[in-house]
């Protein structure tokens, strides 16, 4: 049978339509495939470049967040210069110390500057300003986990004659007898202010109104009061003379 098979197979395939020039459609396919290859190569190169940038950012953030690694700390002036951030300092109180130098999300908030810091039982907290013209974030350095890294922005929705804009962040500290209610009050006042007086739970708390390079319009403040959130009744900015400071211009 195999002697005959070659002939039968030849018969099978000899009834086929033949193109006039078989090279022409193949040339078209080659051009199309070359175009696809170039496009794919360009897309791959772009994706690779993005991946390298993202990986560099992530690795940099991870390295900066590694605990217990002692690295020489540059002076505040050097760090500020490295940020390449132009600003005109406000009169004291003033802070241009860059914040988040050990935070994984430092780049997200940069440039950020410390406003103030403090302590609650077993924790240290700090608040930094970031973003042009006024946002605040509670950092978890310390770690101040009780406030949950809350943040707030104060550069818009100011009403006429409104002298301060603030955000309250409650924290409940477990205590042997009864839980301790603490509230972080943080916000912005006008550049003319020097201090902020917070009234909460029948007590008054004075804290500095800090200028930072993030804003020439606002100063920022943060204070933890020993009261529940609902007990914060007044936030009053005071100027250098101790009088009520005007609204932000």
């Amino acid at each position: 049978m195999t002697d005959d098979l070659g002939a039968k197979l030849a018969l099978l395939t000899d009834d086929r339509p033949e193109p006039a020039d078989p090279a022409a459609p193949i040339r078209l396919r080659i051009k199309s495939r070359q175009l696809r290859r170039r496009t794919a190569a360009a897309v791959c190169a772009a994706v690779a470049a993005i991946a390298v940038v993202v990986a560099g950012t992530v690795i940099g953030s991870i390295k900066s967040a590694e605990p217990g690694v002692a690295t020489p700390s540059p002076s505040p002036s050097q760090r500020t210069q490295n940020l390449d951030f132009r600003y005109t300092p406000l009169p004291q109180p003033w802070s241009d110390e860059p914040a988040f130098t050990t935070q994984p999300d430092a780049l997200k908030y940069a440039p950020a500057f410390y406003v103030t810091d403090g302590s609650i039982p077993n924790e240290h907290w700090a608040v930094a300003s970031y973003y042009s013209d006024g946002c605040l974030v509670i950092t978890d350095e310390g770690p101040a986990k009780s406030f949950g890294g809350a943040k707030g922005c104060f550069y818009e929705n100011w009403q006429p004659d409104q002298r301060s804009q603030y955000k309250t962040v409650p924290a409940v500290i477990p205590n042997a007898g009864s839980p301790m209610h603490l509230t972080m009050v943080m916000g912005a006042v006008s550049a003319e202010a020097r201090k902020v007086r917070v009234t909460a739970g029948g007590k008054t708390y004075d804290t500095d109104a800090i200028g930072t390079p993030n804003s020439s319009r606002f100063r920022f403040f943060a204070v933890v009061v020993s009261a529940a959130e609902s007990q914060v009744t007044a936030v009053t900015p005071l100027d250098a003379a101790g009088k009520i400071a005007p609204s932000p211009s």
Binding site: M1, T2, D4, L5, G6, K8, L9, A10, L11, L12, T13, D14, D15, R16, P17, E18, P19, D21, P22, A23, P25, I26, R27, R29, I30, R33
Partner: protein
Amino acid sequence: MTAEDDFDEFVRARWTATARLAYALTLDHQKAEDLAQDAFTKLWFHWHKVRDGNPEAYLRKIIASHFLSARRRRWRGERPTETPPETVADPATVQVDERLAMHQAMARLSPRQRAAVYLRYAEDLSERTVADLLGCSVGAVKQHTRRGLEALRTDITFATPDELADLTERGI
């Protein structure tokens, strides 16, 4: 002569044989043309390496591997139908009957059996060469060929002229 001109000449020279091989494997004119064009296109991207060697062998390898991998991806089994897909120009001729019968017989083979049988007995390639083309051992080629021939032997394609006449009467 540029590489493109050289390649185009090769395409024109080898198109008929390549399209025959592709048709023997796919048993479909459109698929065969697509397979052949695709194989030549792939060959172009290796042309500078193979042009001075054995481009025919490389082309066969592309065809075989492309056909078998495509079958793996889209295997739906062979389903011979009562009516072959081709239009019969002149069903009265014995040659057409034989072609149709052969078409159906080959369609009943597995893709590897079909490839092995065609490469061995139509292209007259050695078992070793066929094994290289199909990416399997010589033993496997022998097995595919033997089973393919057994299937063809029992098939109506190789029946008597009377039975072929009966096939024609039934419109097959």
